[in-house]
């Protein structure tokens, strides 16, 4: 039976603020799942804590709303124990780049085959608008008493140096484009990072929808708004590593590109390298049956309740008498 977009929606009341960028991301995820025909019970959406963390409750697949900052280890644990699952991790910028930054870096080193989406709104939404790790130095969003005195982290560059093998950025009000990026991220073999520029109309009064759409960025001749976001695909940029020896140069291009900000903000795929072995492949090189018989599917006991594992060989090594 073909799955419709509505099959991926739940009845749960959505309490995001009107106009929140999170809605666009939610729609894009549901569209991607339905277009890819991923069976609902095979998908698991993990989330951290924040406004963004509520996302799984609105999607009719398995949904695991975890702890603040810990979405990556929860989701990697599940994926590694059952690689058949389609695992996606979502969360806020504070969640993933503040309290969870250590996991972000370590996840890159592993390259587990899954997609991680950060809802990047520059603020801690759910705790009422404090500065998040992506808010630029010196900016004073609505609820900050004083301008931000921390420098901002560049999540795309951090993903690159940490070892993520797919790095992209979307914009939450360009839902179709975002949906395509999500599909690419899911299809990617390895750990994919998708940064989503997500206006928070309630607390981030600087990087607003109007700002992204260029309300203050007028064409001097026509007087029309020039949107800040532009698509890398349409700008002749190719971030895909086709040959092993281009990996370094493509990565430096991606990092350089990721620093473009201000009047022009690139969205699209910055980098992709499928030549790096996934963590699952690394395990399979040591445990040959891993793919066929991963931890979740191994039988623990025989029908009479006795253990299936037999440690006699190890006990014999310790044996001192027969």
């Amino acid at each position: 039976m073909a799955l419709k977009l509505s099959d991926y929606k739940t009845e749960v009341h959505n309490d995001w603020c009107p106009g929140c960028g999170d809605f666009g991301i939610l729609n894009a995820i549901q569209m991607a799942l339905s277009e890819m025909g991923i069976q609902k019970h095979r998908a698991v959406i993990f989330s951290g804590i924040g406004c963004s963390g509520k996302t799984p409750h609105f999607i009719n697949t398995y949904g695991i709303h975890t702890l603040h900052g810990r979405v990556l280890p929860f989701s990697q644990g599940a994926k590694l124990c059952n690689p058949e699952l389609e695992v996606m991790a979502v969360g806020g910028d504070g969640d993933g780049l503040g309290i969870g930054a250590g996991h972000f870096v370590s996840a890159g080193r592993r390259n587990v085959d899954m997609l991680y989406i950060i809802f990047n709104n520059g603020v801690y939404g759910l705790t009422k608008g404090q500065a998040s790790p992506t808010l630029k130095l010196g900016l004073k969003t609505k609820s900050l008493p004083l301008p931000n005195s921390n420098n901002s982290v560049n999540p795309l560059a951090l993903a690159a140096v940490s070892g993520f093998t797919f790095i992209a950025r979307g914009y939450s009000y360009d839902v179709r484009h975002l949906k395509d990026l999500i599909k690419q991220g899911i299809a990617h073999k390895g750990l994919a990072y998708l940064d989503v520029l997500q206006p928070c109309p309630t607390y981030n009064d600087i990087n607003t929808r109007e700002w992204y759409q260029g309300s203050d960025n007028l064409d001097s001749e026509t007087g029309k708004q020039i949107p800040r976001t532009y698509k890398l695909e349409g700008a002749g940029y190719d971030g895909i590593v086709h040959l092993e020896d281009e990996a370094d140069s493509k990565m430096s291009n991606a990092i350089l590109k990721s620093y473009e900000w201000g009047k022009k903000i690139p969205i699209g795929t910055f980098y992709q390298n499928e030549m790096v072995p996934t963590y699952e492949e690394r395990i399979a090189s040591k445990i040959p049956d891993y793919v066929k018989d991963p931890p979740s599917s191994q039988r623990v006991s025989l029908t009479d309740g006795r253990p299936n594992s037999d440690i006699s060989r190890l006990l014999d090594i310790l044996r001192v008498s027969n």
């Binding site: 095979r42 949904g63 695991i64 709303h65 990556l72 931890p295 623990v300 309740g305 044996r319 001192v320």
Partner: protein, 666 residues
């Protein structure tokens, strides 16, 4: 002393040296040789938080009877450095012997840089008091005055001769065998047959046959030299082999729980390195391919994470897919895990945390022992949620308990904290081979298909992970009890559910409804009552000794078990009436069982390796009974049976204060 007058096959042997100089392998060879020779072995390892150079030592106690603990008195001290002599020679008792390097006699106390000031001051004080020089010789003289035999072995000369004999002139390489040579000298003095020693050496070096050969030859050279040049008649101890009991293993406490995990079908273990817990994970990783029935291979995935928060949360993720999952840590790591522990409690996820306690707080004494985390384990985390805390008392028990804790986790759908510690992890013992036939696996209400859920457990057109199901019995607020809801795994068709750390509905969606909140709290906490009903009495608390109304009752938990049992046997041999209640299930607290076991008893003595007598606090919190005596120790060194014996004798004689602080240790 003629051989017939000697104490046969019962002694406490100690070898020491700088960390990294082969103390462990020598002790493992000694243990293995005695075990192969049909003797019972209990050994324990002590070491600094250091990689090379600081003093480490290993005591091995040997007996023909079952032994479960160490003692303070040393009968045979084996050394190849000055520090071992300075630190331990004074503990060798009358009739004992000391094997040492002839060249060390003149070493002055001030020349040993790794002796810390506190110990040096105590030693100098002692030697000055007895009028001995402040040198190794002074310490040896002191021992000799106590009727201890001294056996000086010129290791360097022996090595030179040996190197000429085998025509290998790399002396620095050969000198690495001094550990085995000194051990071998001690065996010669004790009269232990070389053949069995040789077999043990080959076993320990089984992966390097050439090195094994060389060590056997060197050991033999030292053995023959010692027999020809020394007269052991002053030594009151001897060791011989006897016919071994059937099916004995020699196993370390950092292997037993790991072996239990393999039998239990643990398929996923995460960890962040920490002493003394890492060995458990490393053993599993080294044995990640696990034979299954019918000649198939299974496996366990062991993953080193970026920190302990990742360790526990990954394990939870794994558990949600159905893999039996665990993480192993010690106090500092467990502190970091507490938030996630609550999440597992909230979402009813079965996971096992092997908590290998060490001395706290903070990094405390990182490589030393303590049972300081009992109250923390029973309360760790914010808010209220159910968890099981279960403590093993010794190595053998820890194997069987590990399977139990996985069953508890899945039957009661909650995190289980399995209390282990440094004393268990770093000891070695002979015991009956683990019996895999005795094991039963119970995965509780784990459903492979949603359609398998019976109507009375809430099967309906749509599955609800946290289905509220009432029992027909009432609880103590006069309302019907809740039952455990059936669990399905991520990926199950028609089984979609949600989890959240927020309070949730039956489906697992966030709710702040006051009635649902009350019901969900009741549902979760009711599982503790179910656990109390279903966990057997012996698993709650075990009774040993002479169970009479006027017996002295010792209570304790965890690794003090061996020292208490050994001391109790001695006291019972001396005609004392004494019983011992070993607490195993520490949360939920088995109130009825404990009332039955101690409620009517007068003289209650609590023994623990911590400052505040945490079990005694737990008992008074739960049943309002207080202890007559508290025996505690918190200097980082495990309680010995000598200490337990002496403290209990004082109590029996009515000479003891209410609280006794034990202080022995090196």
């Amino acid at each position: 002393m003629s051989l017939t007058n000697k104490v046969k096959n019962s002694l406490n042997w100690l070898i020491g040296g700088a960390q990294g100089s082969g103390v462990d392998s020598a002790a493992n060879i000694f243990s293995r040789a005695c075990a192969e020779g049909g003797l019972q072995v209990f050994g324990k390892r002590e070491y600094y938080s250091n990689i090379k150079g600081e003093h480490s030592y290993f005591t091995v106690r040997i007996s023909e009877r079952e032994i479960r603990s160490h003692v303070d008195e040393i009968n045979m001290l084996v050394s190849f450095d000055a520090e071992t002599l300075l630190r331990h020679a004074g503990s060798v008792v009358k009739g004992g012997g000391i094997v040492y390097d002839s060249e060390l006699a003149d070493v002055k106390i001030g020349e040993v840089p790794t002796l810390d000031d506190a110990f040096r001051d105590r030693l100098v004080g002692l030697l000055e008091k007895v009028g001995k020089p402040l040198t190794v010789q002074g310490v040896l003289d002191y021992a000799s005055d106590n009727d201890v035999s001294l056996f000086s072995i010129p290791y360097f000369q022996l090595l030179e001769e040996f190197s000429t004999k085998i025509e290998d002139h790399s002396l620095s390489k050969l000198s690495r065998m001094v550990n085995v040579m000194s051990l071998s000298s001690s065996m010669a003095l004790l009269g232990f047959p070389f053949e069995t020693l040789g077999s043990a050496i080959r076993y320990i070096f089984r992966s390097k046959p050439k090195i094994a050969d060389l060590n056997v030859m060197a050991a033999n050279y030292a053995y023959e030299y010692t027999k020809t040049h020394h007269d052991a008649s002053g030594l009151a101890f001897s060791l011989t082999t006897k016919k071994p009991l059937p099916d004995v293993i020699l196993v370390q406490g950092n292997q037993s729980s790991a072996l239990g995990k393999l039998t239990a079908g643990c398929k996923f273990q995460t960890y962040y390195p920490i002493t003394p817990a890492s060995d458990d994970s490393e053993f599993l990783e080294a044995n990640e391919i696990v034979p299954q029935g019918e000649g198939k291979d299974g496996s366990i995935l062991v993953l080193q994470t970026e920190d302990e928060i990742a360790a526990i949360t990954m394990a939870i993720g794994g558990a949600l897919t159905g893999a039996r999952s665990a993480t192993a840590t010690s106090g500092p790591g467990f502190s970091l895990m507490t938030e996630a522990l609550g999440w597992a409690g909230m979402n009813e996820v079965p996971i096992v945390v092997s908590l290998y306690q060490r001395t706290g707080p903070a990094t405390g004494l990182p490589t030393r022992h303590e049972q300081g985390d009992l109250l923390f384990a029973t309360k760790a985390g914010h808010g209220e949620f159910p968890r099981i805390v279960f403590a093993s008392g010794d190595i053998e028990e820890s194997y069987y308990d590990t399977i139990k804790v996985f069953n508890f986790a899945e039957k009661f759908q909650m995190p289980v904290i399995h209390m282990l510690d440094k004393a268990i992890a770093n000891s070695i013992t002979t015991c009956k081979i683990f019996d895999q036939q005795r094991i039963l696996i119970d995965r509780g209400l784990l459903m492979e298909n949603v359609s398998d859920i019976s109507p009375d457990l809430g099967h309906a057109s749509h599955y609800r992970r946290f289905k509220l199901i009432r029992d027909n019995k009432n609880n103590n607020n006069g309302e019907a009890n809740y039952l455990i809801s059936p669990r399905v795994l991520l990926g199950t068709e028609n089984g979609i559910f949600w989890n959240t750390g927020d309070e949730h509905t039956e489906e697992g969606h966030i709710t702040e409804d006051p009635e649902i909140r009350t019901a969900m709290m009741d549902k979760r906490m009711d599982k503790l009552r179910i656990a109390i009903e279903q966990i057997g009495d012996e698993d709650k608390a075990t009774l040993y000794g002479i169970d009479e109304p006027d017996s002295l009752t010792v209570i304790s938990w965890g690794s003090t078990k061996g020292a208490i049992l050994d001391a109790m046997d001695r006291l019972i041999d001396e005609g004392k009436k004494i019983r011992f209640v070993q607490f195993r299930l520490l949360n939920p607290f088995p109130i009825e069982r404990v009332r039955t076991l101690i409620g009517d008893h007068k003289q209650l003595v609590d023994i623990e390796m911590n400052y505040s007598s945490q079990l005694a606090l737990l008992i008074s919190e739960n049943i309002g009974i207080s202890m007559d005596h508290l025996i505690v120790k918190y200097n980082g060194r495990p309680i010995s049976s000598s200490e337990v014996y002496n403290a209990l004798v004082r109590i029996i004689l009515g000479e003891a204060p209410r609280r006794i602080v034990l202080k022995h240790g090196a």
